[in-house]
Symmetry: C2
Subunit: 331 residues, 2 copies
């Protein structure tokens, strides 16, 4: 075990100065062929690897982005992450993936780490906007871009047109002939949840339908929440005959509730989900969804970080979701 070969060891073996070793390794300036090869073989022989933190201390910066998301297990975020990774990698940056688990304190911890490590940028899906940590990042001069959820601060952001997507989904259900379209959305503190609810309402209004509060439920964006909300809605006196569910996990829960209740989709109930999922094609009937351009969201977020102008005004990108009509909505 040779725990700690330093640049001095290499220099000594190659009979040059540490500075020359550094130059060879970083290509900072020309070095004679002779010394160059001596250095390279010494590096090889000793298995030398430059010590990252020492470099970072010199450079005062780390080529790393932090990605703070609320749920690593959600396919939406994993796909976004891929987009970020590809673009970041191309730009010579690495990624640290942080899972805030929708918890404000975990989010705070990760923000602190990003600051302590002086990371080059942060892509964040804000967990709780009321006590979000954005200010701290901004105060420390760390570039941030918010994704998915609309931040209350005026900072770079990449979001989708949630209202439009929800409106399309709901309008589609109405056009299919469903009479009483219900909605399960997320907590009010998450901006996407409210926007999707608004889109749903807009569609109803546009179609001249009444807005029945009894057909609208808020749950926690998780599977269990979707299950409970769907049961409550469907076991009520005047249940909906169609459902727009505002995220993928809750859609799973809703489908289970529907199954447990013995309701047949799409004969007795139409359903459209938000977010496409690997299993949307797999279930029976195949699930109609509003798909978000997940990879593109991530790619764009990284792009904003990479091309950021410290003097420039915040840039906001809004991407369009797509309604993918499959079988679950067709009466």
């Amino acid at each position: 075990v040779k725990g700690s070969v330093t640049i001095d060891d290499v220099a000594q073996l190659a009979r040059v100065s540490p500075a020359t070793v550094s130059r060879v390794l970083n290509g900072t300036s020309r070095v004679s062929d002779d010394k160059g090869s001596r250095v390279r073989s010494a590096v090889e022989q000793l298995g030398y690897e430059p010590f990252g933190p020492a470099r970072a201390l010199r450079h005062q910066r780390v080529r790393v982005f932090a990605v703070i998301i609320t749920d690593v297990e959600n396919p939406f975020f994993t796909s976004v992450t891929r987009g970020i990774e590809d673009a970041a990698h191309a730009g010579g940056y690495r990624l640290v993936l942080c899972n805030s688990d929708e918890k404000a304190d975990k989010e705070a911890t990760y923000v602190e780490i990003a600051i302590r490590e002086r990371m080059a940028g942060v892509v964040i899906a804000v967990a709780a906007s009321d006590e979000s940590q954005l200010d701290r990042l901004i105060a420390h001069g760390i570039p941030v871009v918010a994704i998915d959820r609309r931040p209350d601060k005026d900072i770079d952001s990449v979001v989708v047109d949630n209202r439009g997507g929800a409106r399309q989904a709901t309008a589609h259900l109405i056009e299919c002939g469903w009479k009483r379209v219900g909605c399960i959305t997320g907590p009010s503190r998450i901006s996407t949840a409210s926007e999707r609810l608004q889109g749903y309402r807009n569609a109803l209004r546009a179609a001249g339908r009444p807005l029945e509060p009894a057909l609208q439920k808020r749950a926690d964006y998780r599977q269990q929440g979707g299950y409970k909300a769907a049961r409550q809605l469907l076991e009520a006196p005047h249940p909906p005959d169609a459902l727009f569910v505002a995220n993928n996990l809750m859609t799973v829960g809703a489908l289970q509730a529907i199954h447990d209740l013995g309701i047949k989709v799409p004969h007795e109930l139409g359903i459209v989900g938000f977010d496409d999922s690997p299993w949307a094609e797999l279930i029976n009937p195949r699930l109609t969804v509003v798909a978000q351009p997940t990879y593109e969201i991530g790619r764009m977020a990284a792009e904003l970080l990479l091309t950021r102008d410290p003097e420039g005004a915040p840039r906001h990108v809004e991407l369009a979701p797509t309604l993918i009509v499959r079988d679950s909505s067709i009466r």
Copy 2:
């Protein structure tokens, strides 16, 4: 923007030495109440955050584990990661999540990063065992634990009894009365793939059934591969009437193929998958699977890292998978 408040700034404002500031922040030794509070308020006032890399340079170690997995989008790995994270967090370590994407060169890059940053440990699902990077980590004295796939080196590892799981799955299909049980497994370079194939064969032998090579296919552990393999198997002259599919992604592909071919599960075909998935309960019929104790695999791997004795012999943990019988296998 106060990009770089240092410990000296804090010391100056608090009218103490930098050493004292350090002592207060780390609780290394007692400091008078007066100075203690002066330091704390200065820290507060300046928004000081200690610079991680400088610390790391002093300490020569970083309290970070690298988790190198082959597919972030696979629920198997995300669940494992959670297990690692919880245990690591409890032990005061952070995680860097690295996605090797089943590619040897990406794996090599991440191993290099782990070495350069002198990370405290690495949990790795080896991508390509023939050109694995384990040696480099070992040479640099970085603690490693291999998960999921059995490493060729004698190092700490956490795996499941793949042979046993596959045997159970296959035996279950046989007991259910299926006559010609086929198998789709992964590439031979991935140890789990071969072990699961062996388990399948063992079960067939134990039941006195012939081993027909035409009923065994290797694919790439991905969805597309599962789709193609299933089609080939099912469109052959003497197709199987049941299928054991050796991982979750390929099972998705196989189910699509089955659907496209208009084959009814479980009336005309029985199927058992390896790895439980969020959608296994959701599809119709509900999928029978061999479930791995994913969270426990991760937790255990982190535990091995946390409790490692540099002098001790490598420790190997083998966990038992569980057959979860649902509807897709019952004739």
